[in-house]
Every structure is written in structure tokens, then in C-alpha cells.
């Protein structure tokens, strides 16, 4: 078991975004979260990533397991270049050689190593940077919220190759998607959420 959610729940004032939910992610899993807008997919992923504190329940990680998190809205510093973002996050995460790691991820995600601030990149380019940041540190578990929504066909294929490589290296991936064919093509398990509950 890489990660387990036990009775995890989240309220925003009076609104219950996610009712108590249990979920276990095993090595090799590719879990797809599907459901209409507002079903609670993003909330569940943010809770699993630890970027949102739960209102109840708990999220447990296997000892030493690392998590990479790609939120739906790209999170990076708009006044820094793609390389500077990657190097900064690599340094913060304690990676051994941040410049080398940044170069590798720029190449892997097809990002240009230029002087443009990331804030002026196209939506697709920003999403690639978003995914590259999630892949820093070669995480055991990749959590991605609609990772391919803004990507072109080639970039999508590249992402799924990277996800498969994570799984093959003893990791797992949990992703939310609205794309109809992705659960069937890339998921080992499909979880459907409706009004904050697992269906």
C-alpha cells in the first residue's frame, strides 16, 4: 500500500464537498476518478496530496513514499522561467543536482529552455510545466487533476508514457479526468464520484 484515505472528508463551511471516503492505492495502480463537475474529484486529490487539510478522517502514506502533485490549475511562479521554477522546486525538495534535473524534465516534457517568464507561456506549455514540477523527485505516487486537459495529442501520449514508467518503477498514479476514453485506456481502476460520494 502506497497511500490510504480513511474516512477522509472535507467541508467548506456548511457545504460538504467530500463525504467520508475510503481509498487505498497500491503499487502499480492507475486509479481514474470520474464524475461530473463538482462531484468532489479535485477535493479528494488535494486531500490525498496533502495540499488541503481534511475536515475529518485521515490520509496515510507508506513510510518513505513520495507524492508528486499536479493541481488542475497550474501552480508555478509566473515571473520565473520554466527552468528557474524547476530548479527552485528541486532545491526546495532537496534534490541532489537541480540544474541537471531541470534540464532532464524540460526535455522530457518538451518545454523550451528560454528566458520567457512562465506566466506568458501558452496554457498547454504551462500545463507541461505543471506536470514537470509534479515529476520532480521521481515520486512514488503521481496525483494529477485533469492532467491532459490542455495538452496536444503528442504531449498527452508523452504524459501517459511517463505515468506508465512511474507504475513500472514501483509507483502508482491517481488522476481525475473528463476525457471519455482515458479511464478505459490508462486506468486499472475507475472510481466514480457524485455529489461528494464514491458511487
Amino acid at each position: 500500500m502506497l497511500l490510504a484515505a480513511r474516512g477522509v472528508t472535507r467541508r467548506f463551511r456548511d457545504h460538504v464537498a467530500l463525504h467520508p471516503t475510503d481509498l487505498e492505492v497500491q503499487v502499480g495502480d492507475a486509479v481514474a476518478l470520474v464524475g461530473p463537475n463538482g462531484a468532489g474529484k479535485s477535493t479528494l486529490l488535494a486531500l490525498l496530496a496533502g495540499s488541503l487539510p481534511p475536515s475529518g478522517g485521515s490520509v496515510e502514506r507508506a513510510p518513505g513514499a513520495t507524492v508528486g502533485w499536479a493541481p488542475q490549475r497550474a501552480g508555478h511562479y509566473g515571473r520565473l522561467t520554466s527552468r528557474e521554477n524547476l530548479e527552485l522546486f528541486a532545491r526546495l525538495a532537496g534534490e541532489r543536482d537541480p540544474p541537471v534535473r531541470a534540464t532532464a524534465l524540460l526535455d522530457t516534457l518538451g518545454l523550451r529552455d528560454d528566458a520567457r517568464p512562465s506566466g506568458v507561456l501558452s496554457v498547454g506549455q504551462r500545463q507541461r510545466l505543471n506536470l514537470a514540477l509534479a515529476l520532480l523527485g521521481d515520486p512514488d505516487l503521481l496525483l494529477a487533476d485533469e492532467p491532459t486537459a490542455a495538452l496536444d495529442e503528442h504531449a498527452r501520449e508523452r504524459f501517459w508514457e511517463l505515468a506508465a514508467a512511474r507504475r513500472a518503477a514501483g509507483g502508482a498514479v491517481v488522476f481525475a479526468t473528463q476525457a471519455g476514453d482515458e479511464p478505459a485506456r490508462y486506468a486499472t481502476r475507475v472510481l466514480s464520484l457524485e455529489e461528494g460520494r464514491l458511487a
Binding site: 495540499s51 497550474a74 532545491r91 532537496g94
Partner: protein, 439 residues
């Protein structure tokens, strides 16, 4: 702390890449500092005082053998207050509406009392219940004191005429009646022609003793009229533009507002850029980076300002020079003040919903804090009490003491302790409020 340092490095790099933001961030507080200095200067200008002349003051007035110009006397008073001549009704209206802060009324009979020198003529002073009233009373008291000194001179001169008359003899006038006085000199001469009987000798002894005593009367009268005389030495110190207080205000307001705005804006920007949830750093490290940002920027900019001020002082050969050896003290104060204002900025940003709201709230908070700092605490006690709970007042006192107090250590220790304590409290509150950043 390594990660806080990395985030601080990122913030400084972002700041360097935003010249417009940096210019605005530096320029805005500087403009505010200048405006506050102007307000301070305005506070030092003459308050308007109404003069109600019910006595019908003549252009000149003779007291004894001296003639006083009324207008020059009023002009002399006008160096301290701006005197406007008004009717009683107009003066009353302007006092009620705050256009003038006091009324000086010259009542009927004032001139005749003054000329007669039989009883003291009276001026009436009416003040409004404003922070200026104490100052106005002092100004008018000073005016009356100065006028009295001139009048005393005239009265003494007039009285000495009678003394001279007693010594030398001749014609005189008192209360409108003319009279002829023999005088001690003439008396002595008359007695010298008489047979020198024991009685005549005794009277001549008395006359000579009286002449000697009366010869000292002038000095004695002047000494008792003015037991202590104040001699005004020509202006000696710095012009207000280079005063220690202006430098302390400029430092406090500029770096204070800058640290507050930068810390608030940069923490709120972390949320706007959606990085907080994925940043490999704790909330504590993130807040530490923003507090450090306030301290670093305040120390850098503030020290540069102090050095620039010092260069101007030295170049212009301003009296007193710049206390260069105190600059390290100023820098340490800038670090403390910047950190404290940075912590306040973090609290504002954590409570605000987004960067725009955070900046607006920071500006809204900064302005009253700036003005509370420059309002004298003894003038408005509530403002002084509120101000002491925030870092600006203590930073101002710290810089003022560091730059120009002869023995600043006690004040520096007290204000540094205040700044550290306030930073600790604001930090703790920001930590609690920062939970909202993850929502």
C-alpha cells in the same frame, strides 16, 4: 530555514525583475513620507488667531515718554501666530467653526488704562477645545510677556523722570496736574548758603544720602522688573528639512510601508499563483521567508537612504554632520522594523482573500499607522496608546535615538524589545490565520 532562504531568494529575484513594481513600492512610501513631513511642517506653522479690537487701538500709543507703534507690536506677535483682525461676531463664528483657534479681545477702556498707568489693562483670550489650545495660550502668554517688557521699559523710564525731578528739581505733571519741585540738588545748594547749624548739617547729610540712593534707582527698577532676562542667540541649528526627526520619519515610513506592502503582496501572490499546496516547504518556512523579505528590503533600502541623507548633509556642510558611526545601529533597527512590519503584512495577507485585497488592506492599514506615528502621543493619548501596539511608533523612536541621542542605549534596548515582542505576537497570529491559505 534553508528552504525559507530559497523562497526569499526567489522573492528578491522576482522583485528585481519587476522594476515598475519596485519603483512604485519605493516611490509610494517616499511620497507618503514627504506628505507626512509636509503635514508635520504644517503643524509647525502659525495657527490663526482672531484679534477683536473693541478699544479702537490707535496706530501709535504714547506711554510715558515713549511712543509705541501698534502695528509693529502686532507684527511681532504674528511671528508666532497668524493674527487676523475680525469683528466680535465674525471672530465668534470662526472660533465655532474652527477657522480660528483663539480670540484675543482688546476690551473697551484698554487704551485709557494703559495710558493712565494706574491699574493693569486686561486682554481677554478665548480658545477652542483643540489640541492647539495649550500652544495658543503659551503663544499669547509669550506675546503679552514681550509686550509687558517693552511697557515696563516705558513705565520705568516714566518713573525715572519723577526720580530725576526729585533729584534735580523743575516742572512736572502727575495725573494731569502741573507742579514745581525744588529737587534735592537745589535743596543742598540752598542749605549751603544757610548758617551750618547742627540741624542744617543733619538735613544736608540726609539730602546727600538721598541723592546717592536715588542715583541707583534706575538700575534697581530695571533689575526688579526683569529678574531674569532671556537673551535670544541667532539661529544656530539645522533647518527642519535636515533635522533628525525628518530623517527618522522618512526612514520609518518608507521602509515600514515597503516591508508591509511587500510581505503582504508576496504572500498573497503565493496563493494567487496556486503554489502553496505543492510547495515543498511548511507554512512556517513560507512565513519566515516573507518576514525575512521585509527585513532584507527594509535594511537595504533604509541603509541606502541613511547613507544618501548623510552624503547630502556632508556635501552641504550642514551643522552637526551625519553620525556615520551610528549607521550600523540604524541598520539593525531597520532589520527589526522590517521584520515586524513583514509579520504584520503576513497577517494581512493570510486574512485577505487574494493579492489585490491583501494590498488594499495593507495600504488601508498603513496610512493610519503612519499618521498615528506622527501624532504626538501627549496631544492625542488614544492615538499614542493604539500606536504603541504597532511597530511604526517604536521604529520611529528607535531611529531617532540611534541617529541623534547622546546616550541612546536605554531607548534602543526598550524599542528593540518592543519590536521583537510585537513581531512575535504578529507572527503567532499570522501562523494561525495562515491556515486559510490552504483553503
Amino acid at each position: 530555514m534553508r528552504r525559507a532562504g530559497l523562497i526569499l531568494g526567489k522573492d528578491l529575484r522576482v522583485l528585481r525583475r519587476s522594476p515598475l513594481l519596485l519603483a512604485a513600492a519605493v516611490g509610494y512610501p517616499l511620497v507618503v513620507a514627504v506628505l507626512v513631513a509636509l503635514v508635520g511642517a504644517y503643524a509647525g506653522t502659525k495657527p490663526r488667531v482672531a484679534l477683536v479690537d473693541e478699544a479702537g487701538l490707535p496706530p501709535t500709543l504714547q506711554v510715558g515718554n515713549r511712543v509705541f507703534g501698534i502695528k509693529p507690536a502686532i507684527d511681532r506677535a504674528g511671528r508666532e501666530v497668524h493674527i487676523v483682525r475680525l469683528t466680535n461676531r465674525e471672530a465668534r463664528h470662526q472660533l465655532d467653526t474652527g477657522r480660528v483657534v483663539a480670540i484675543v479681545r482688546v476690551p473697551h477702556g484698554f487704551v485709557s488704562d494703559l495710558r493712565a498707568m494706574v491699574r493693569s489693562p486686561q486682554l481677554e483670550l478665548e480658545t477652542s477645545p483643540s489640541p492647539f489650545s495649550g500652544r495658543i495660550v503659551r503663544e499669547v502668554q509669550a506675546f503679552v510677556y514681550a509686550l509687558n517688557r517693552e511697557l515696563q521699559g516705558a513705565y520705568i523710564g516714566s518713573n525715572l523722570e519723577y526720580v530725576n525731578l526729585l533729584q534735580r528739581g523743575g516742572k512736572g505733571t502727575f495725573l494731569g496736574r502741573d507742579f514745581d519741585v525744588l529737587g534735592l540738588g537745589r535743596t543742598d545748594r540752598l542749605l549751603a548758603t544757610e548758617p551750618q547749624t547742627p540741624a542744617v548739617v543733619s538735613v544736608r547729610k540726609f539730602v546727600r544720602a538721598a541723592r546717592l540712593a536715588l542715583a541707583q534707582t534706575g538700575d534697581a527698577l530695571r533689575a526688579t522688573a526683569n529678574p531674569i532676562a532671556l537673551v535670544h542667540v541667532p539661529e544656530h541649528g539645522r533647518t527642519w528639512a535636515f533635522s533628525a526627526q525628518v530623517q527618522a520619519y522618512a526612514l520609518t515610513l518608507t521602509v515600514g510601508l515597503l516591508a508591509l506592502l511587500l510581505a503582504a503582496g508576496s504572500l498573497a501572490a503565493e496563493r494567487d499563483e496556486n503554489v502553496i499546496g505543492r510547495l515543498p516547504a511548511t507554512i512556517g518556512e513560507l512565513l519566515a521567508a516573507k518576514v525575512a523579505l521585509g527585513a532584507v528590503v527594509a535594511a537595504t533600502l533604509g541603509t541606502a537612504m541613511a547613507l544618501a541623507f548623510g552624503i547630502v548633509i556632508e556635501t552641504a556642510a550642514v551643522r552637526g554632520g551625519e553620525p556615520w558611526q551610528r549607521i550600523p545601529l540604524v541598520t539593525s533597527g531597520l532589520v527589526l522594523a522590517g521584520a515586524s512590519l513583514g509579520a504584520l503584512g503576513c497577517l494581512v495577507a493570510a486574512l485577505a482573500r487574494d493579492a489585490r485585497t491583501a494590498l488594499l488592506a495593507a495600504v488601508a492599514l498603513a496610512l493610519p499607522l503612519a499618521f498615528v506615528a506622527v501624532v504626538p502621543s501627549d496631544a492625542v493619548r488614544v492615538a499614542g496608546a493604539i500606536g504603541s501596539l504597532f511597530p511604526v511608533v517604536h521604529a520611529l523612536r528607535f531611529f531617532s535615538a540611534a541617529l541623534y541621542d547622546v546616550s541612546p542605549w536605554r531607548t534602543l534596548a526598550a524599542e528593540a524589545a518592543w519590536l521583537v515582542a510585537i513581531t512575535a505576537v504578529l507572527w503567532a497570529l499570522a501562523r494561525i490565520a495562515a491556515r486559510r491559505l490552504l483553503v
